[in-house]
């Protein structure tokens, strides 16, 4: 459904100097944006840059001055994004009050999902757990396996009807190098046992899908 817009703060190249080509634009006294480079207006150059330089304009690409100017515009955009990231990095320790208020609200809005009934011989006693609780359990159990980080969980079937067949699906990230089949087997066993321990669901299948890989502690790369 939701699809974010195009690229955002990227990693700009660190500029050593004033962006090359900047003097072509900033060189004179006119500061009202009407100046031009090799006959191409600044508006046009900006528009061309913002379009991703597509479709290719031979008039602009054929002019070294224009290309330098485009480079300057791009650099200053990169610098501004970087200056914002830097400012954001300075931010966080202002106060944490905002986040606790937000989390309180968020916890109140946790979607419980369907009720998962638990049998009681007494007709005046109704016992249950919730879909949210069971999915939280799946995440917790999956995380307990070394090298596994759970990404998402799903309970497929009429979990609110006692005895209905249910398929459990879990997607995880696995540490690079671990044997996937064995990991999945181990997970299936543990998840099955946990469901048995905490629910009366009739689980007919536990699907484990490894759709992501992460690096071990020996690798020095940044995440």
């Amino acid at each position: 459904m939701t699809s974010p817009d195009d690229a955002l703060p990227g990693d700009g190249p660190p500029g050593a100097d004033l962006p090359e080509g900047a003097d072509l634009i900033a060189g004179d006294d006119e500061r009202d944006g009407t100046d031009s480079v090799d006959g191409v207006s600044l508006e046009e150059l900006g528009d061309y840059l913002d379009r991703g330089r597509e479709p290719r304009d031979p008039r602009i690409e054929g002019s070294p001055a224009c290309r330098l100017a485009l480079q300057a515009l791009e650099s200053v955009g990169d610098l501004s994004r970087e200056s914002f990231e830097r400012e954001a990095a300075r931010e966080p320790h202002r106060d944490d009050a905002w986040i606790s208020g937000l989390l309180d609200q968020v916890r109140r809005e946790v979607v419980e999902g369907r009720p998962v009934p638990v049998h009681s011989p007494d007709p005046l006693t109704e016992l249950s757990t919730s879909e949210a609780a069971v999915r939280g359990l799946l995440r917790r159990v999956g995380d307990e396996v070394d090298g596994v980080v759970v990404r998402s969980t799903e309970l497929d079937g009429a979990i609110d009807e006692p005895g209905a067949p249910v398929t459990v699906r879990v997607t995880v990230s696995a540490r690079y190098g671990l044997p996937i089949d064995e990991l999945a087997d181990q997970l299936r066993d543990l998840l099955g046992a946990a469901l048995d321990q905490h629910t009366e669901l009739r689980v007919v299948a536990v699907d484990v899908h490894v759709d992501d890989v992460h690096l071990g502690p020996d690798d020095g790369s940044t995440p």
Partner: protein
């Protein structure tokens, strides 16, 4: 029972049910395998209680003390609803059954003590399953 003109009977009954809710909350905390108790009462009433607390802090503060089990009356029936967290290391169905038994026993005793023979319905839901240690830290 008191005079209908001053509305006091409603207050008495309400206080009595608040007492019951508090009692039942206490019962839950003593059930092995229950690691936390959540407020099962509706949000609208919570807002009203908050406003009342502003107006008369002492009375409401006392009344507010840990009364998390929802008590609802309708005709000859009283329904008590509890929302809890159960221990990761335990069996949730067993814990729930144990909790329900404790609640039923305490609610029945309360009704007898108030000359009521209302039928008691007990509902317990585990909304969270987590290790006992985490629950302690969270509520600290």
């Amino acid at each position: 029972m008191t005079d209908a003109r001053d509305g006091a009977p409603a207050d008495d009954a309400t206080r009595s049910d608040d007492d019951l809710s508090r009692d039942l909350t206490g019962v839950l905390r003593d059930v092995p395998g229950i690691v936390d108790v959540f407020d099962a009462r509706p949000l609208v009433r919570a807002a009203v209680r908050a406003i009342a607390a502003e107006l008369d802090p002492d009375r409401e503060a006392a009344a507010e003390r840990a009364a998390l089990v929802l008590v609802e009356r309708s005709g000859p029936r009283v329904t008590v609803t509890a929302h809890v967290a159960t221990d990761r290391a335990a069996s949730t169905p067993e814990v729930l059954a144990r909790a329900a038994a404790g609640l039923r026993s305490a609610a029945a005793a309360h009704e007898r003590g108030h000359a009521s023979d209302a039928e008691v319905v007990v509902r317990v839901r585990a909304r969270l399953i987590e290790p006992a240690q985490e629950a302690v830290v969270a509520s600290a």
